[in-house]
Symmetry: C2
Subunit: 203 residues, 2 copies
DNA sequence: GGCTAAAAGTGTACTGAGTCCAGAAATGCC
DNA sequence: GGCATTTCTGGACTCAGTACACTTTTAGCC
């Protein structure tokens, strides 16, 4: 993210660290791998690691983080009439971008990673972030405060549904059907209820 | 939880540690308080702390943990016909037990605690645990596997809704209406959709 | 070439949570 | 008194994450 061309150029690319980490996680599990081991393999100092990542757990979820980034941006961009329908289409659109090669390690290699509390906890942070994105979107479209209960209910429930879809998709193994279908099936369970509640007089 | 009367009797009660912690959290925020400070004030050694609690964050959520314990037990006990209606009534029953004096510190004193990632993360673990309880209950009643996607969707969405209700309730401040109403309003947004999806042929 | 500013990387020391474990202290029972 | 059992303690350890001063590499400018 260098703005100008001035200054020392990056050599320790994010990618190198991510790759080294992925290798080590598969060899020794997530919690069995220390940041020192990762930086050693990547040929980078420990301090540099923290220039690129805020936490060790970021290495597990970068695909998901990027997806949520996309989601957040798309939510700002889109401006169709029904917010719920928009949300649905944005979600599916982003899901369509996710192919086999971008399944998060933490989900597919669930067994290998050891379903540590650590791993789960860092995943939950992503779900919560997504809930917040949903909530903000709905709040804005429906002129409700961000901390409105219905807004939070909708955001949380949606994020929970999406998380379940991700997990089911990842667990499906090689040859899995596209993520899109999973998302649609899960989200459609609760979207109608949310739409009804958000409709004027639905309170 | 001593089974027999034999052995050294407990002196450091859980309660003493909880109280010392609550004081310190309000004085210095959650993250500004170390376990050493807590054990010092409680007059207990650091090692003893970990005899009673698995983590510092357990001190923030014991009310919630107990509520989820009740929920889990109640789910096992109840055996009515419609699982969704049962879930709803169990939830409301347990909510009715929560009065003003049992609002979790982490939620009411949200500002004082500093909305640290730490605090949020440990709260998310509780939401996830609740989701699992819901999921197990639904799975059993509907003869579905625990990792069935619809089961997870339902569990996660419900837990998300309940979490939103808790937060809204805690934020409402002194004189807040009973938790029960919050739970009902939030859960009823999504329960119909779940019920429909779970109904035979609703897949 | 040398100087400077800026960005990237390094080294080191620190805090604090959580783990481990051996052993001390307090009890009931014989 | 001895004995098993439980609680409590002390100390050493690992590791994530923070802070900060310092060095290195580049571009641009003179």
């Amino acid at each position: 993210m260098r703005s100008t061309g001035v200054g020392r150029p990056k050599v320790a690319s994010r990618q190198i660290i991510e790759d080294a980490a992925a290798e080590l996680f598969l060899e020794n599990t997530y919690s069995g791998t220390t940041i020192d081991q990762i930086t050693n393999r990547a040929g980078v100092s420990r301090a540099t690691f923290f220039n690129y990542f805020d936490a060790k757990s970021d290495l597990l979820w970068f695909e998901v983080d990027r997806a949520i980034d996309s989601l957040s941006e798309a939510c700002v961009r889109e401006a169709s009439a029904s917010s719920v329908a928009t949300l649905r289409s944005v979600l599916l659109e982003i899901a369509a971008d996710f192919d086999e090669r971008r399944v998060p390690l933490a989900l597919t290699q669930h067994e290998v990673m050891g379903a540590t509390d650590e791993v789960m906890q860092s995943g939950l942070v992503r779900v919560a972030r997504e809930a917040k994105v949903f909530g903000s979107f709905i709040a804005e479209r429906h002129r409700r405060p961000e901390d409105d209960m219905l807004v939070c209910v909708a955001g949380n429930a949606l994020a929970g549904a999406v998380a379940a879809a991700w997990v089911a998709w990842a667990r499906a193994g090689i040859g899995r059907a596209p993520l899109e279908g999973y998302i649609r099936d899960s989200v459609d369970v609760i979207l109608p209820g949310i739409e009804a509640a958000l409709a004027p007089g639905g309170d």
